[in-house]
């Protein structure tokens, strides 16, 4: 009687299955779950370096309660939150030069988990020097602390993408230190779905809420409302997502990239009309940010972003946010959210865990279907004992990336059909050039 299929009856609310099951395989992130084990094969950002001061910081990642701290000697530790002795939380512990002391009985743990001292115990006890508190390796990069929570014999190299190697950039962060406005009360997968669904930009970020993207001169990019031609290509790192739009005599190839499994790269949008350098008919725009969407647990996910600024540019992503950036955070009033929804509302509005069984995917959701397939393939790879996609073991040098936001001067041919083909051909040419560059 109740259906998750196509409802073909007006006033048919009664016919809809109300509680179809969620996709457990793709959405659960705890230890031992399929997607949880996949996500544990990658370095994940867990907090800002600046947040490690003189007190330990409780963190929750992939359903695990942990505590992060920086020893007075400067080493970063990431330990299971509950002391191996009697379970008191190490967030109330005292940071030392060599690690952290539990507040309850002063058991002393090193950043790698080793029990250095157990002062309540006899000098010869079965613990000191043998027992280890659960610990995870960390790495600091660009102001973020990353952790690896997977099997110790599978630690991958840190994902040093080519955008990080550019000499003309300095790095900023996409959310303020010390607070939690970057957390969305929702599952990681529906936040990732947003990227291979570039079509949402025209609707949500422009037609619905007014233009939420600004160019570098802070002009609202009204051209985003043009509905373009969508394409997706699998890359060695993930998925390249293009939308090619006709803007007068020019073609705008919007180019985003999903870094498997839970990271995206977005480029700077163009300035209209485009300024082609010295007689050229093409101009490319550099990467603007790399953003991880890190599961805290099944129903909470945090955004952590590294923003790319040219030297001399102020790091103002958060201090002078675009409407789109503002709408990424959880500190708006409900009325503001209702009047000007952004990514936060579109994603959180799907519920704590989006129910795929009641979706009706369309033409614009092809990329999202490719992405979900990649997650399933990744889960299979981990099950088989293989490295999943984008682990880059044995990489020599920076990892090539494939997003290439581009404007091309190519006036429209005389029929809409021919123009559509020209848009798609141009889009493909831009992608193929990124492939060729990666091969070099």
């Amino acid at each position: 009687m109740a259906t998750t299929r196509f409802l073909t009856e007006k006033f048919g609310g009664y016919r809809i299955a109300k509680q179809p099951p969620i996709d457990e395989e793709l959405t659960r992130v705890g230890r031992g779950t399929p997607a949880g084990e996949l996500l544990r094969r990658y370095w994940q950002p867990i907090l800002h370096s600046a947040d490690l001061k003189d007190l330990p910081v409780p963190v929750r990642i992939l359903g695990e309660d942990l505590v992060a701290f920086r020893t007075t000697a400067g080493a970063v530790g990431l330990l299971e939150r509950h002391c191996a002795h009697r379970g008191a939380s190490l967030e109330f512990g005292k940071i030392t030069e060599r690690g952290i002391l539990c507040c309850y009985h002063a058991w002393h743990f090193a950043p790698d988990g080793r029990l250095l001292e157990a002062p309540t115990e006899a000098a010869q006890n079965p613990y000191t020097g043998k027992l280890c508190q659960g610990a995870y390796p960390t790495k600091e990069f660009a102001g973020l602390v990353f952790a690896y929570l997977g099997p110790p014999d599978r630690v991958p190299p840190f994902p040093f993408y080519d955008s990080f190697a550019r000499k003309d950039f300095h790095f900023g962060l996409g959310e303020p230190d010390g607070n939690k406005i970057n957390i969305q009360p929702t599952n990681w997968l529906q936040m990732m779905d947003n990227t291979p669904d570039q079509a949402h930009e025209a609707f949500l970020h422009c037609m619905h809420s007014g233009p939420q993207f600004l160019d570098q001169n802070r002009r609202p990019i009204t051209e985003l409302a043009i509905i373009g031609e969508l394409d997706w290509w699998e890359t060695p790192t993930g998925l390249a997502c293009h939308e090619a739009r006709r803007v007068g005599p020019d073609i705008w190839v919007r180019s985003m990239e999903l870094f498997f499994p839970n990271c995206v790269q977005v480029c700077r949008p163009p300035v209209f009309p485009p300024a082609y350098p010295g007689g050229a008919t093409e101009v490319e725009y550099p990467p603007f940010l790399i953003r991880w969407k890190v599961p805290l647990d099944d129903t909470h996910t945090a955004n952590y972003s590294i923003i790319f600024y040219f030297h001399g540019e102020p790091a103002d992503y958060f201090t002078r946010p675009t409407p789109a950036a503002k709408a990424l955070y959880n500190d708006r009033t409900y009325e503001d959210m209702q009047r000007f929804p952004g990514d936060f509302e579109a994603q959180v509005g799907q519920g704590p865990i989006a129910i795929h069984a009641r979706e009706h995917l369309g033409h614009t959701d092809r990329g999202l279907a490719m992405f979900r397939r990649m997650v399933r393939d990744g889960i299979e790879a981990v099950r088989r004992g293989d490295d999943p996609k984008n682990v880059n073991r044995g990489a020599s040098g920076p990892i090539p990336t494939y997003s290439r936001e581009t404007m091309v001067r190519l006036p429209p041919p005389n029929s809409p059909e021919a123009d559509k083909k020209l848009l798609r051909d141009t889009s493909r040419r831009v992608f193929e050039r990124s492939l060729a560059a990666a091969a070099r």
Binding site: A2, L7, F11, G13, F203, S209, G349, G362, T364
Partner: protein, 441 residues
């Protein structure tokens, strides 16, 4: 019926008390597909006040379903499943259109009946537009409330009107502030309250002080007499009387449980009654009709219509009686402890009252009758029949409650007087039976 925990027969016997059996699921569960939920879905329920529908959609939850309600720019009310059928984004962030509402994420537009009017991101000729429907429910606006029917479309009854709604010269106001009155507990224990009129003598009089006043603002001290209670099953529910001796008159407090989740209450009389030479009986007008609508298993929202005559001021909500203000949450804990009201008595039974630890008494006959009627309704629906109280054939539903004071000489002994009091109450019931539904000229 839920298994009854045994009567404890031991002093300091807390340790012996058995964990009460779980709630009777069919009575208290309200979600889609539950027995009680399917029963309730056969009736129209108020789900919002018209005043809630302004420029932005409103997210509501009714019987465990997340919905969005809005008035489109052509003035029509839409009630849709909250999650867009495309990718599940909540339509509470959508944009209200001339026809229907548009999802914020990819611009899909839904009419108020659920029809997809536009899928601008999809190519022409896609399989959705003009064929697929968002889940929708029909609505009716009536006297400032928006009612919805959430049951099987082929079983939809006509919108049920009561005879008392049609009385000439009446005007109606709302009984709650905008948004309704929320109680964090199951709907059934809120309803129990009405089939239990004897609680008024205790909770609203002797325990918390007199919480009711008459039209002149005098606290109705006579309420503290527990009186003679009686209950009769009617074709709409349970008529509940408490008859009290007041000098040379009998005051019959008359209220009604109306199937499935409605209470009907009359105004209290002036006491002693101002009889005139040519009248030794005064019938009081209706005060309100209040619906208790399940939000989910553990939350309930109240919406009421208040009856105003031409001479009445409209202060029911703005200057609430003590009884009304203590029916709302938001008081301090100390206030609630010192002078509890309906809210505290109902909510403190727990999110879902455990019938298995109750010990029903003589004054709970109405509660037992009401619960039996709910069970019978549930069983009728499970058998594929209409439950009692639907009024399909254009019939106006009668309301029997008719609060009355009547002159009656005191009996010679207390026992004899109790018989007098009860006989006045019974006679009033017989008169109500004979004169319903009311017709108005």
């Amino acid at each position: 019926m839920a298994r009854q925990a045994r009567f404890l027969t031991e002093t300091f016997g807390g340790y012996r008390q058995a964990e009460p059996p779980p709630p009777e699921d069919r009575l208290v569960r309200v979600g889609p597909g539950t027995l009680g939920g399917e029963y309730l879905r056969r009736f129209w329920h108020p789900v919002a006040q018209s005043a809630m529908l302004k420029g932005l959609p409103v997210a509501i939850r009714i019987m465990g379903e997340d919905l969005v309600i809005f008035r489109d720019k052509s003035g029509r009310v839409g009630l849709l499943e909250a999650h867009c059928s495309h990718r599940g984004t909540s339509l509470e962030f959508g944009k209200i259109e001339d026809r229907g509402i548009r999802c914020c994420y990819h611009g899909w537009q839904f009419d108020i009946d659920g029809a997809i009017l536009d899928t601008p991101a999809e190519p022409e000729g896609n399989p959705y537009k003009g064929k697929l429907y968002q889940g929708a429910y029909p609505t009716v606006e009536y006297k400032g409330l928006v009612f919805a029917y959430m049951g099987p479309p082929e079983k939809k009854p006509p919108f049920r009107k009561f005879d008392v709604f049609e009385k000439p010269g009446l005007e109606f106001g709302l009984g709650e502030p905008v948004g309704g009155n929320l109680k964090p507990c199951n709907w059934l224990q809120v309803m129990d309250n009405v089939a239990d009129p004897v609680h008024e003598a205790f909770l609203h009089a002797s325990i918390s002080g007199i919480q009711f006043t008459d039209v002149n603002g005098r606290p109705v001290e006579e309420l503290a007499d527990k009186g003679e209670d009686d209950y009769w099953e009617t074709e709409v529910g349970v008529l509940c009387h408490v008859a009290r001796r007041v000098k040379d008159a009998v005051w019959v407090r008359s209220m009604e449980y109306v199937i499935p989740n409605i209470i009907q209450i009359c105004k209290m009389p002036l006491l002693p009654p101002p009889f005139t030479n040519d009248a030794d009986e005064i019938e009081m007008p209706q005060l309100l009709t209040r619906w208790r609508v399940p939000v989910d298993d553990e939350n309930t929202v109240e919406f009421a219509l208040v009856y105003y005559g031409a001479e009445d001021d409209r202060s029911y909500v703005s200057a609430p009686s003590v009884a009304l203000s203590t029916n709302r949450g938001g008081r301090t804990y100390e206030e609630a402890q010192r002078a509890p009201g309906d809210y505290d008595a109902q909510v403190s039974q727990g999110p879902i009252a455990r019938h298995g630890r109750e010990h029903l008494g003589r004054t709970d006959r109405g509660v037992a009758l009401m619960r039996r009627m709910v069970r019978e309704g549930i069983e009728a629906v499970a058998r594929g029949e209409d439950p009692k109280g639907l009024f399909r054939n254009g019939a106006v539903a009668p309301v029997y409650a008719a609060e009355t004071v009547k002159r009656a000489a005191r009996g010679p002994t207390p026992e004899a007087d109790r018989e007098v009091v009860r006989s006045v109450s019974h006679a009033l019931y017989q008169k109500s039976l004979a004169t319903r539904p009311r017709t108005w000229r």
